[in-house]
């Protein structure tokens, strides 16, 4: 979700402002595009990992990176009518895509994915260690 949040939220807001008559330069929404590409994802994962405690930073970087790579991998399989993603940005603007499904086909998977996500969250929640009890605390 993070790549869309970083790269799509602001451009959508800018486009809405443009539709209401505000002079938004056409190139400005494209400024957020690198945040949805490997270049921006690696840098964002690194920056976010810096928020973690020192010993957890490499693991946090890998976790953020895998999550964003998975997002990009699924997006690459969407049909973008030949536009694709500039995976080699900033060295190349060539867009790549491997269109297997339409951009809204994921909506049909929602009835299956929502209960699966709820189940996964439930099992994760149940697997959590109970909070440590302070032995000095009264019963």
């Amino acid at each position: 979700m993070l790549p869309d949040l970083l790269a799509r939220a602001a451009p959508i807001a800018l486009q809405r402002l443009g539709a209401r008559g505000l002079p938004v330069p056409p190139g400005l929404p494209a400024a957020f595009m690198p945040l949805h590409l490997p270049y921006g994802m690696v840098l964002c994962a690194y920056l976010l990992a810096q928020l973690a405690p020192e010993r957890d930073r490499p693991r946090a970087f890998v976790a953020w990176g895998i999550g964003m790579a998975l997002h990009l991998g699924l997006d690459l399989l969407q049909d973008h009518q030949g536009v694709g993603f500039a995976l080699l940005f900033p060295w190349s603007w060539k867009g790549y895509e491997f269109p297997l499904y339409g951009s809204e086909d994921s909506v049909w998977a929602l009835p299956l994915l929502l209960p699966l996500a709820a189940l996964a969250a439930r099992s994760r929640w149940r697997g959590r260690a109970p909070p440590e009890r302070d032995p000095a605390a009264p019963d």
């Binding site: 979700m1 869309d4 949040l5 486009q15 443009g18 539709a19 056409p26 190139g27 400005l28 929404p29 494209a30 400024a31 957020f32 595009m33 690198p34 945040l35 270049y39 921006g40 840098l43 964002c44 690194y46 920056l47 990992a49 810096q50 928020l51 973690a52 405690p53 020192e54 957890d56 930073r57 490499p58 970087f61 973008h80 009518q81 030949g82 536009v83 940005f89 900033p90 603007w93 867009g95 951009s103 809204e104 994921s106 909506v107 929602l110 969250a121 959590r128 260690a129």
Partner: protein, 166 residues
């Protein structure tokens, strides 16, 4: 080979400390942030936005006549017989519809694949409606709301660091 591996092992703690340690964390973050800003500044001049498609068609319709214009996931701003006006990155894009184009209404989302024509305007060759776009956006907002609701239960901000709540 083994000597090179040994040297690498010997210097690894220094490399790891330089990348992940608390020392110089602010400087490293500022450097990574600056690289990110530079990339975003470069993307502002995305040739796919500014020098191809509708950008080029608008700038010089005569020179760009016949060039491909792809308007992906645009909102229909106005409908007239055989024509549409679209808006998203570019506002008020006039489009001539082909024979047998699907019927759309104001507020619908469509992708138009066509050619630049003097005017400037777009002569559509394909019009692809996105009837499920609103559902996709609603699902995205639902996912965002769920993430915002669950994040404080999974993570805590402690001592200036983001730590797991488990």
């Amino acid at each position: 080979m083994s000597a090179a591996r040994g040297r690498w092992r010997a210097c690894w703690p220094g490399v790891a400390g330089g990348l992940w340690g608390d020392r110089g964390r602010g400087l490293r973050s500022a450097f990574a942030g600056a690289l990110l800003v530079l990339g975003c500044a470069e993307a502002c001049q995305d040739p796919r936005t500014l020098s191809t498609g509708w950008g080029a068609c608008q700038a010089d319709p005569e020179a760009a006549a016949g060039e491909r214009v792809l308007l992906t996931v645009y909102e229909v701003a106005a409908v007239a017989p055989g024509a549409l006006t679209l808006g998203r990155i570019w506002q008020g894009v006039p489009v001539d519809l082909p024979e047998g184009a699907p019927a759309v209404e104001v507020g619908d989302t469509v992708t138009v694949d066509g050619r630049c024509a003097p005017g400037p305007r777009v002569i559509a060759e394909r019009v692809i409606p996105h009837p499920l776009r609103r559902w996709k956006e609603a699902a995205g907002l639902l996912g965002l709301a769920a993430a915002i609701a669950v994040a404080p239960l999974l993570f805590r901000w402690r001592g200036g660091r983001l730590v797991s709540a488990a």
